[in-house]
Amino acid sequence: MTLRPDTFKSLVKVAAEQVIASAPELTALDQAIGDGDHGTNMKRGFEAVLSKLDAIGSQPLAEAVKTVGRTLVMTVGGASGPLYGSFFLAAGEALSRKTLPEDLAEVFGSGVDAVSARGRSQAGEKTMLDVLVPVLETLRANAGRADLIERVRATANEAVARTAPMQATKGRASFLGPRSVGHIDPGARSSCVLLHAVCEGLEGKQ
């Protein structure tokens, strides 16, 4: 697996299109336990990313990843903007010192650490970290394996489902206390959508 800027551009396009397509589902999930804006916020952010696709394709990979991050920070309009934005800004920063695919887990881990710091949150609090952290563990444990993409996808699916019985202690859903139990976390779901899109995009390149 190599990741050249034009490969990244096509991954970003697939990811943005799938996030935009999932906006009604994300909004419905957020209406159950949040303020109902996750779908429209993510859609706005990724539409802005799509509008910068040519610039993203012309930049060195580390810079292109940071452009995605900066765009999300400036356009999403909810907490998910700085959270996803920080993921891509930190991953892009890590990429300027690391190489792919060898350091994939490390680069992804830099992004996960940034989300954790930005949200002052850990896995287990019914957030996007409940998908990102298990996926990071899968990346670490299966580096270089032929079925890595399949394992990432399975991990993400299982991880999203596990957010349903959790009680939220971070974010707007924490206002609901025990009533947050029984609903999938919208941020965990949008992370899963993004990861699936990247898996699909990478499979198309193989």
Binding site: D37, T40, N41, R44, V73, M74, T75, V76, G77, G78, A79, G81, P82, L83, G85, S86, R118, G119, G171, R172
Partner: protein, 130 residues
């Protein structure tokens, strides 16, 4: 005019942010610079990093700026905005853990007396400590 800590009000609603700023100006007067913003980049309910950065720069003072926020995303987006400022400005901006209306009025009152950024923040945050 003596330099006083600037106050920035960040709400999901521009109406709430503006109303809070109006209250501060009426109660504290014009010796403290107050700026406000609210709404997502499309103008709906939410917050917007770029508007927050503009508001911080509008209220800028050599003594620093205290930001008052309403709910979660306003805080996360304000923290992000602070990190995107020029490095020398970053350490002179704080996001107060205080109720937005009472916090803004208390912070501005303290700022008007010429207090430091840390004193302004402490007075606003006493509201949460009680």
């Amino acid at each position: 005019m003596k330099d006083t800590v600037g106050i920035v009000i960040v709400s999901h609603s521009r109406d709430i942010a503006k109303g809070t700023a109006d209250m501060v100006r009426q109660m504290v007067g014009s010796e403290v610079k107050v700026s406000f913003c609210g709404g997502n980049p499309d103008g709906g309910l939410g917050t917007n990093v770029s508007l927050i950065i503009d508001a911080i720069n509008d209220a800028w003072s050599s003594k620093g700026v205290a930001i008052l926020v309403d709910l979660g995303g306003a805080e996360t987006n304000s923290e992000m905005a602070v990190e995107m400022l020029e490095p020398e400005r970053r350490k002179l901006v704080v996001v107060c853990n205080a109720p937005i209306v009472e916090g803004a009025v208390m912070a501005a009152t303290e700022a008007a007396g010429g207090s430091s950024l840390e004193q302004v923040r402490a007075v606003a945050e006493e509201l949460t400590a009680g």
